[in-house]
Amino acid sequence: MFSFLFRRLLVLIPTYIGITLTAFVFIRVIPGDPILVMSGERSPSPEKYAELMHAFGFDQPLYVQYFEYVKDLLQGDFGKSIVTGRPVLEEFFELFPATVELAAFALFFALLIGIPAGIIAAVKRGTFYDHTLMTISLTGFSMPLFWWALLLIVFFSGYLGWTPVSGRISALYFFDTPTGFMLIDSWLSNEEGAFKSAVMHLILPAVALGTIPMATFARQSRSAMLETLGEDFIKTARAKGLSPFKVTVVHAFRNALIPIVTVIGLSVGVLLGGAILTETIFSWPGIGKWMVDSIFRRDYPVVQGGLILIATIVIMVNLTVDVLYGIIDPRISKKGH
């Protein structure tokens, strides 16, 4: 296991070189620069523009800017936002809990509905249940997120009035948020109704963001279960007289978990990507919205730092998934020896 982990960690070195380079180049190949974009129609004179570009160091050759950037990164300095003047790390950790909270609940929703739906569809293969569940999941998978999110708002908030329209909590509450997780902070605040307001605000964005992963989980669980259910050991289990529930959940599901866990791991990237749209529509103050705003403003340090930090999260999750493989199926980590 340790050598397995060590090898995976070693791969991170070239991965990070690639990420920093991509992050650095990506934002610079987009036309426009922070000074021009920030000033819009009210641009400074050419002399002043040159002075500002120099002051920010944007007139240096790209390789010099890159090495300066990597040098600072190695010292843990992600730089300051050109727009707000605040350290990138400070802004990231202020907003990151909101994204985690949203993604976690979206994932929870997706797992809660998607996996049982997939299992039921597999067990009831070819029946009305199977066709209905798979049609719903295909619809969920195909739905454009922005359209689905607006539909949810119009129906549940506008028409039925059951849920608030957007934000993390009613704008009338204002308390310290030491953890950044609104559910926890609203609970700790002891403000009457704050926790309920936070829960109500979380429902629609979590459902909107969780819909595509839910559909993926349902389809993946179904196919993984179907494959496993056809295996000899399942027939043996059935022949031994085990109950259908035990055969399905204990024997078949455990063995179907590997592809399911893979999809769950990969869905973290999808959730973070989907968070960009969800956060924008639901005015959810997370890193997705922060990154989009920063790309539009050509806020180089924020885009670079944000990409690296998000990539780190995706890498860590995938590393965890790899470790989980070893636990679910010990043959995988042993193959490494």
């Binding site: 641009s43 329209v165 639901f282």
Partner: protein, 530 residues
């Protein structure tokens, strides 16, 4: 646990606010975006000004809300020397800066604060200049360093601006957001603690509201400044609930989650008008959308060609298709809400035959050109691509084959400033209600050199009128000069003036006293809640 819950007024039914104490009046404004910071001098966006200058700060002079009239602010009176080179302000005594968690003022506002507020934008040795790399948006764009030579303290309550040359709009400029007055005492405290960035993050002003807190990209909270020098705000708390999607803002208004919202989605306007409990306020915007002809290019040097292209454009169709009918066709380069607007101008009305005849007279049967269309929505042009397509179709009728070109926004501005275009769609929203802010900034000879004048048109006669108006403080002289300038503009046609868009502001019927600001700001200190 430390907390500062804000009691709230009861909003329309459906608001989620379970169990709050509702004694105080809280107005929730669903703002369109996050402020970049709270130091207005660093930025150029209206979103940032609303969250900073328009709520928490004062200038030496202010614009009277709902008008472009300059009224006393932190200065009680002002005086311009005969040669126009000295501008003296008499400051208002007894003005208090906000007391916040980070700062307790020990003195009233005085001349040191004025000097601090301007020096940091012009003195390269000032620590705040260095902290921000000299990136003061409006100061740089307006080239203020070449206008203001020095700011001098005469006594505690008198301050004098020494100017390089006379410039009539200087007093109006002092009411703009970049000229908001900061506390020198707070500034010095932050320098001592090495936290210069807090001037932008934890603002301290003299305005009608003071800063309570900001949850990034989510909510900004203000409380009434109970020591305000002017008439105190009628509401106790002001909340900016940041909601970037226009349709979602409307849903929040409908659900009673906010009292007011800016910039509705054009497609929602009819719906908003039919929604109970929401009043749709509207006013002609202080803006102009235009198509500039690059007069340095051979094909646009002949005024007859420019005029022909103007006659070929069906502006009424553009108004209907691009603006959903919610705009007025522009005939002058300044909007009708600005003083000196020339009512007598006769527009180049849509006339294909006249356009063809003019081209023939110029000896041209048709030519190839391009129309640059902005990639972004702007207040003066909600859909530049569609506008370009309509113009392209119109010009095709007179044998002009136009290709539509677009670039990313920053690149678009940069390249058009460099004069790479044949014709370019752009526009402008006024900053200070002075015609100079349109005519000289967009059509003057200096702007032709710097590129801000996208027509790259420098006309001696026109320039003389602008200079006459610039150097005079007599309103009559200035009005006549600007009217003459508009006549020359119309005759020479460096632009096709397209439209002045309408500004909308959906507002709850529980709100009274709100006035639409012609300059595009959003002000709440005169607003009350039923």
């Amino acid at each position: 646990m430390k907390k500062s819950i804000i009691a709230a007024a009861v909003l329309a039914g459906g608001m989620i606010m379970s169990g709050q104490a509702m004694a105080a009046k809280t107005l929730v404004y669903c703002s369109e975006g996050s402020p970049e910071g709270f130091d207005a001098a660093l930025y150029t966006s209206g979103t940032t000004f609303d969250a900073s200058a328009n709520t928490m700060f004062d200038g030496l002079v202010n614009f009277k809300v709902g008008t472009t009239e300059v009224v006393p602010g932190l200065a009680e009176s002002w005086d311009v020397s005969v040669d126009g080179l000295e501008l003296t302000f008499k400051l208002r005594p007894g003005v208090k800066f906000h007391t916040t968690k980070n700062f307790t003022p020990t003195r009233d506002m005085n001349a040191d604060d004025i000097i601090f507020s301007f020096n940091r934008q012009m003195d390269k040795e000032d620590p705040y200049y260095k902290e921000n790399n000299g990136n003061f948006g409006y100061w740089n764009a307006m080239d203020m360093s070449n206008l203001i030579n020095d700011v001098v303290k005469v006594d505690d309550l008198t301050v004098k601006f020494m100017l390089d040359h006379p410039e009539a709009p200087i007093v109006s400029n002092m009411a703009m957001a970049f000229a908001s007055i900061q506390s020198a005492e707070y500034g010095a405290q932050l320098v001592a603690s090495g936290k210069l960035g807090d001037l932008n993050q934890k603002p301290v002003g003299t305005g009608p509201f003071q800063f309570v807190g900001y949850k990034k990209d989510s909510v900004i909270r203000y409380a009434k400044n109970t020591q305000y020098w002017g008439e105190q705000a009628k509401i106790d708390n002001l909340v900016f609930s940041i909601t970037t999607d226009a349709s979602v803002r409307f849903q929040k208004m409908k659900a009673g989650e906010c009292h007011a919202m800016p910039y509705p989605n054009p497609a929602d306007i009819a719906d908003i008008r039919n929604t109970d409990g929401i009043n749709m306020m509207q006013q002609e915007g202080l803006n102009v959308g235009y198509l500039a002809y690059n007069t340095e290019k051979d094909k646009f040097k002949d005024v007859r060609v420019r005029k022909a292209l103007n006659y070929a454009i069906n502006k009424d169709a553009i108004k209907q298709v691009v603006f959903n009918g919610e705009a007025s066709v522009a005939k002058n380069p300044i909007p009708p809400t600005i003083w000196s607007y020339d009512e007598s101008t006769v527009d180049d009305a849509y006339d294909v035959e006249k356009a063809k005849a003019l081209l023939k007279e110029a000896g041209i049967s048709g030519f190839k050109t391009n129309i640059w269309a902005m990639p972004v929505q702007r207040p003066y042009n909600p859909d530049a691509k569609k506008m370009a397509e309509l113009i392209q179709a119109d010009w095709a009728k007179i044998g002009v084959d136009a290709e539509i070109v677009t670039f990313e926004w920053g690149e678009y501005l940069k390249r058009s400033k460099a004069g790479e275009h044949d014709t370019v769609l752009l526009g402008w929203t006024g900053d200070n209600g002075d015609p100079d802010n349109f005519l000289r900034v967009l059509l003057g000879c200096a702007a032709a050199k710097s590129g801000d004048n996208r027509a790259r048109w420098c006309n001696a006669e026109f320039e003389q009128e602008l200079q006459d108006a610039l150097l005079s403080t007599d309103p009559e002289v200035r009005t006549t000069a600007y009217e003459n300038a508009q006549k020359i503009f119309k005759k020479e046609a460096p632009w096709a003036t397209i439209a002045h868009s309408t500004v909308f502001m959906p507002i709850s019927d529980k709100v009274s006293g709100y006035k639409i600001d012609p300059l595009g700001g959003h002000f709440f200190h005169n607003v009350d809640l039923k």
